[in-house]
Symmetry: C2
Amino acid sequence: MSNILVVGSLAYDTLTTPQGHVDRTLGGSANYFSLAASLYSQVRVVGVVGEDYDQKEIEMLTSRKVDVTGLQRKAGKTFHWTGEYKNDMSEAITHATDLNVFADFNPELPESYKDSQYVFLANIDPVLQLRVLEQIKSPKLVGSDTMNFWISSKLPELKKVLAKVDVLLINEGEADSISKTGNAIAAAKEILAMGPKAVVIKRGEYGFVLYTKEGYFILPAFPIANVVDPTGAGDTFAGAFFGYLSKRDKGYDLASLKQACIQGCLAASFTVEAFGVERLKSLTWPEVEQRQAQYHNVTTL
Amino acid sequence: MSNILVVGSLAYDTLTTPQGHVDRTLGGSANYFSLAASLYSQVRVVGVVGEDYDQKEIEMLTSRKVDVTGLQRKAGKTFHWTGEYKNDMSEAITHATDLNVFADFNPELPESYKDSQYVFLANIDPVLQLRVLEQIKSPKLVGSDTMNFWISSKLPELKKVLAKVDVLLINEGEADSISKTGNAIAAAKEILAMGPKAVVIKRGEYGFVLYTKEGYFILPAFPIANVVDPTGAGDTFAGAFFGYLSKRDKGYDLASLKQACIQGCLAASFTVEAFGVERLKSLTWPEVEQRQAQYHNVTTL
């Protein structure tokens, strides 16, 4: 069985959406990613938590066969994000970002992780993304995500990451920030010139654009009539996307990437049905398969 | 050959987009609709133009076999819209709306139009939409469009129209204004309860949601890397959509509606490639077929 390493955040999120409010629900890119990817493959997680991080959250990952050797617990508090979504929930409003132990995060990989085959660098400081990559001997595929904060504050470092990355997953607004094109196809072309072999532009409820030199692929998200909380949808997409590629383990030709995007959409559609990771935690493979049939039905003649 | 009647605006538009500026280019919902629908069916147009309306624009329609018996020419100037699109062109900014002869438009149908089979009520005052419907003996299918101005100023009249309409085509923002849901699927459900058997929510570059009691269908637009002017994309979609249904002439089961949406997407993708109706005017059936193959390719596994 092939494996996939993810480096990212483990967090508590305090969230307000038109559907309600939750205090300190489990979140963080590494959690969403690991839960989704573990439906497909053996996941290894690298991250840091504080003294307040409930051990049962770690056990929840290990119950999904996620390898947590790379999880550090440090003195201090866990990363805590306070955010809100209004109206159509297309945009997150940040009220507070308490980095806490995440502020001094230095991802050191255990020896047992250094042979990782698939690697996903979630949205963290590009300097740290590079540091993780340097520790991995010969990955088969490297994926990454980023955000506007790094695009505006650390573009040179981010470009070094892009030069080493096979697949970039990025939000549409962030793709526009990098490319200044205002058009997903034009943005994807520009990003490809920076290094990645494939770009996936994530469009929330509008789905995704997959762009490679060999061709592209565009579909909407699976429609959810009652979105409760969009937090983590992108990281869930990434988890199922790279989880699928890792399980398939046949590189990243266009046909594989298309299938990976579909898996990403399906998993993300469950995440938004409840706050935090609640829905994803209980997600089973038969549920994914059932939704895949529905998705096919509503996007095919 | 079945026929389709459209009532809407014939206009000159002065437009500024990130791609350039044009003065008094041909526009108006009835022009976009007629050009697209005439690729499929016999079109009859109802509308009003002023003394400044160039006769060659009318000849352009007749060269496409469009029946212009229902076109009135009145003393005064033609409807003139001045608008602008910025950045990603998702929103039109209106600088001036000079209704001119359109302000007193009273759609009187020639006798030869009263047996029309397919009818499209473009975005005009719902009172006028109703007046058109009253003059048609027994239409097989009635479609309509509307806009926020009528939703906020004439909702009771608009609801009377919806009660008589088979298919509503509407922008996503307008669907939200009617339903206050912030979610396309939820909005479509609410609109269906107002009368239409099918709702098509138009999402610009993100495509459409087709929603009926029998099921739904969602696809992105055909991606255009260099959008020049989005004006008229929605009316072009409607023209190809109803043109297709009229040509097929087998009612509006879900399978037909799905195909009609694809035709709408394809035609609209040409319109946005140039200012005004320029691209649509020269559009040929082989070009549509070629793009249909490309569209299938980028939206199918």
